[in-house]
């Protein structure tokens, strides 16, 4: 009989998590520089979590998950970050699983869910296209019905870790007839070993290859691999955006950056400079107040409420604060701001440039901050056309 983790006290739950990390997350995987390690790099931790039943915190127990309440899930995510666990390729756990659990057939669930837990299937997400980024509804990768299969042609881009995934869940256009562009989109699960699938990694500003282009050239996919109804993919895909949206607004990255800023400031004696103290205080208070604002939304999640569109304000604030902190760190670095390599401080070092460059990304991905502001203007402030 599995433990009912929701019945455990928060403190005990935290301790259990810490013990688990101690057991199955090797030291060299903790506090990794790399934002998006590949599956192989973190496989030992992935399998360790799976073996202990901790891999899928929000999945129902019947499917091999922990069935955590949102409140416990928030602690799970918090401890994950606090203990410096590496990001694992989590599209299977975080997106495909919930998608199938809500919309999948019995056969789909029985086939795919265990293979996610075992690590046999490593998933990536094919949403964006070269001409469908902010305007996702304009996607045009086509899936044309041919008997029991769809024939897929087109291209996806910004597909995180596609080069180490073997399955992709994607949005494809199955109809062009509808007036509303969101109609006519379908969610499709595609085996990336199918002939006609090509992957090209794209290097980012940090010199890493987190994301890829994925090409589809007459790729034949069984119609059984559709999730939910054909042409209803927009609704299906949106339905799994639950309380997890709050994590886009978590203060984690600015906190990491702030720790680095303080480390460099101590090394450079900047705390003796009132001008630096003044700028430092502003950033510190921004971080503190972000915590207060995050807590207001976290409480809604913990109490089982629904998040509104207004939660986007956290995403804007945290991503822009992350940028500002890393900019201040470069300013503090003096001529060492020229270094791509980490800045040495005695035997330690500060990855000032690494974080500065990384901070360019979150303001763009997951819906650019301009799109977030557009949404807030419409959905929250109810501004006209």
């Amino acid at each position: 009989m599995a433990t009912d983790w929701n019945a455990v006290t928060d403190e005990d739950f935290r301790q259990a998590f810490a013990g688990l990390v101690e057991d199955c997350c090797p030291a060299d995987l903790r506090f990794m520089r790399k934002q998006r390690p590949t599956f192989d790099e973190v496989a030992v931790f992935y399998h360790g979590l799976a073996e202990r039943g901790w891999l899928a915190p929000t999945w129902p127990v019947e499917h091999g998950g922990m069935g955590l309440s949102p409140a416990k899930h928030m602690i799970y995510v918090e401890e994950w970050g606090r203990l410096g666990c590496p990001r694992i390729p989590d599209h299977g756990i975080g997106l495909v699983g919930p998608l199938l659990i809500e919309h999948g057939t019995q056969a789909q669930k029985a086939h795919f869910l265990p293979r996610i837990l075992s690590g046999e299937h490593v998933w990536c997400q094919g949403y964006s296209e070269p001409n469908a980024g902010s305007d996702l509804a304009s996607l045009c990768t086509a899936a044309v019905r041919d008997g029991d299969t769809f024939v897929v042609n087109g291209q996806k881009i910004w597909t995180t870790l596609a080069h180490c995934a073997n399955w992709i869940f994607m949005l494809v256009r199955t109809s062009r007839d509808e007036a509303v562009r969101q109609k006519g989109i379908t969610v499709l699960l595609v085996d990336m070993t199918t002939p006609g699938v090509g992957v090209r990694p794209i290097a980012n500003l940090r010199g890493e290859t987190d994301f890829c282009e994925v090409f589809f050239d007459d790729v034949r996919v069984p119609v059984d691999n559709v999730v939910g109804a054909i042409d209803q993919g927009w609704t299906v895909a949106k339905s799994v955006l639950g309380h997890e949206r709050i994590f886009l607004g978590a203060p984690t990255r600015p906190e990491i950056a702030f720790e680095r800023l303080e480390k460099l400031a101590r090394a450079r004696g900047a705390f003796d400079d009132p001008a630096f103290l003044s700028r430092h205080a502003r950033l510190r208070l921004d971080l503190y107040d972000l915590g207060s604002a995050f807590e207001r939304y976290a409480r809604i999640v913990r109490e089982g409420g629904e998040l509104g569109a207004d939660v986007s304000m956290l995403k804007i604030f945290t991503t822009e604060l992350y940028q500002r902190i890393t900019e201040e760190t470069l300013a503090l670095a003096g001529e060492d701001a020229r270094l791509f390599d980490d800045i040495a401080i005695g035997n330690d070092h500060v990855d000032a440039m690494n974080l500065f460059l990384d901070a360019r990304a979150p303001a763009i991905f997951g819906g650019s901050n301009e799109i977030q502001r557009n949404i807030l203007a419409k959905a929250v402030l109810r501004l006209p056309g």
Binding site: A281, R282, D289, M313, E370, R373, A377, L381, P384
Partner: protein, 369 residues
């Protein structure tokens, strides 16, 4: 729109909000401000009395000495609502401060006399405790006070002053009737329309019983009073911030240029979103400080209050600045209320520490640990 949200099991908070709205209906804040300003008065006596009668001035005062005995949560809701309604009497700066002083004062006839008059609105007791220096020299039957304090609200209308003075053995608070010999008041115009005073004392004799807070414990009383005042100011500023966002949304939705409401232009929309977000952050900071204060005094609460006043002050002033701008030429007129919100925000933001000072105090306190 941004608004403080707390559990409200018995409906006290909703009732407080409703009663502010009702008073504002009878006694609109902007009209009161303009009238007071036009006549160069330091207070709207009718409004102040109504507030006292509603129990708002003594909200934090213990019931044992006639107050409402409510807590920081209720005070925050009240102050937020006052800010929204632009009801500009000095509830935070005078009533909250004084309530804390009287609550912290040892039992005594003079304390009870002041509390009674304060609570029923029959006396106006103006705290005079900063922006200057007053010394108290002990005499055979009391004290002689000399010196001056500035930034005194209701200074001309005051029946009594609560004066902070240095006794040589530390600071103490004294009750000084406004008509005492040796007391004079100089007035200047404040930006939010009331006259504010500098109170000068020239060998002003105070009876021994007039020392309502003795040096023993005065600093602790002051600390608590300052924190409570700052929190109330922060809540009032958050209310101003939220209302200014709302007014600007309303205005830009109805102002037509180039054939459509200016609120439909993307550059304006993004500006409004940022203003709204700033107001939400202000409310969140106040909310956090209220919760910390309810959990007890101490360092965490001190930090949260500093953060709340800094955040709400910055938010209110910068939101109102942008709001005035988005009201276009209309925003630059005195007829439009948005300018009054800006002025009120500047005034409250300037009280008891501007944001930069508070942020530095926060970091210093945090790093001292």
């Amino acid at each position: 729109m941004p608004e403080l949200r707390f559990d409200d099991p018995d409906g006290t908070l909703a009732m407080l909000r409703d009663s502010v709205a009702a008073l504002a209906g009878r006694h609109p804040g902007a009209a009161s401000l303009r009238a007071r300003r036009g006549e160069a008065r330091d207070t709207d006596r009718a409004l102040w009395t109504a507030m006292a009668e509603a129990g708002w001035t003594g909200l934090l005062l213990p019931e044992t000495i006639g107050g409402s005995g409510l807590g920081v949560r209720e005070q925050a809701i009240l102050s937020e609502a006052l800010g929204r309604a632009l009801l500009c009497e000095p509830v935070a700066g005078s009533a909250v401060f004084l309530s804390c002083v009287l609550a912290g004062a040892p039992a005594g006839d003079e304390r009870d006399r002041l509390a009674a008059g304060f609570v029923d609105g029959s006396r106006i007791i103006a705290p005079a405790w900063r922006g200057g220096k007053v010394t108290a020299r002990e005499t055979a039957d009391g004290f002689l006070l000399s010196g001056a304090h500035g930034h005194v609200d209701q200074a001309a209308s005051a029946t009594d002053f609560a004066v902070l003075a240095d006794t040589g053995n530390g600071p103490a608070m004294f009750s000084v009737p406004a008509d005492s010999d040796g007391v004079t008041v100089d007035l200047q115009r404040s930006v939010d329309g009331a006259m504010i005073g500098t109170v000068r004392l020239d060998n002003c004799a105070v009876a021994a019983s007039g020392m309502i807070v003795t040096p023993d414990g005065c600093e602790a009383v002051l600390d608590r009073a300052i924190a409570a005042t700052r929190l109330a100011l922060a809540a009032e500023l958050a209310g101003i911030a939220s209302q200014a966002v709302q007014d600007t949304i309303d205005y830009t939705k109805t102002r037509i240029q180039f054939g459509k409401p200016i609120a439909s232009f993307q550059a304006i929309q993004h500006r409004l979103v940022d203003m709204w977000s700033d107001a939400e952050f202000a409310v969140a900071a106040v909310s956090n400080a209220v919760e910390e204060a309810e959990a007890g005094e101490g360092r965490r609460t001190a930090l949260a209050v500093l953060a709340a006043k800094a955040r709400a002050g910055d938010a209110a002033v910068s939101i109102c600045r942008r709001a005035v701008h988005l009201h276009g030429a209309m925003g630059f007129t005195d007829e439009c209320d948005i300018g009054l919100y800006l002025k009120r925000a500047i005034s409250l933001n300037a009280m008891l520490g501007q944001p930069e000072e508070l942020r530095l105090a926060f970091v210093k306190l945090e790093r001292a640990a």
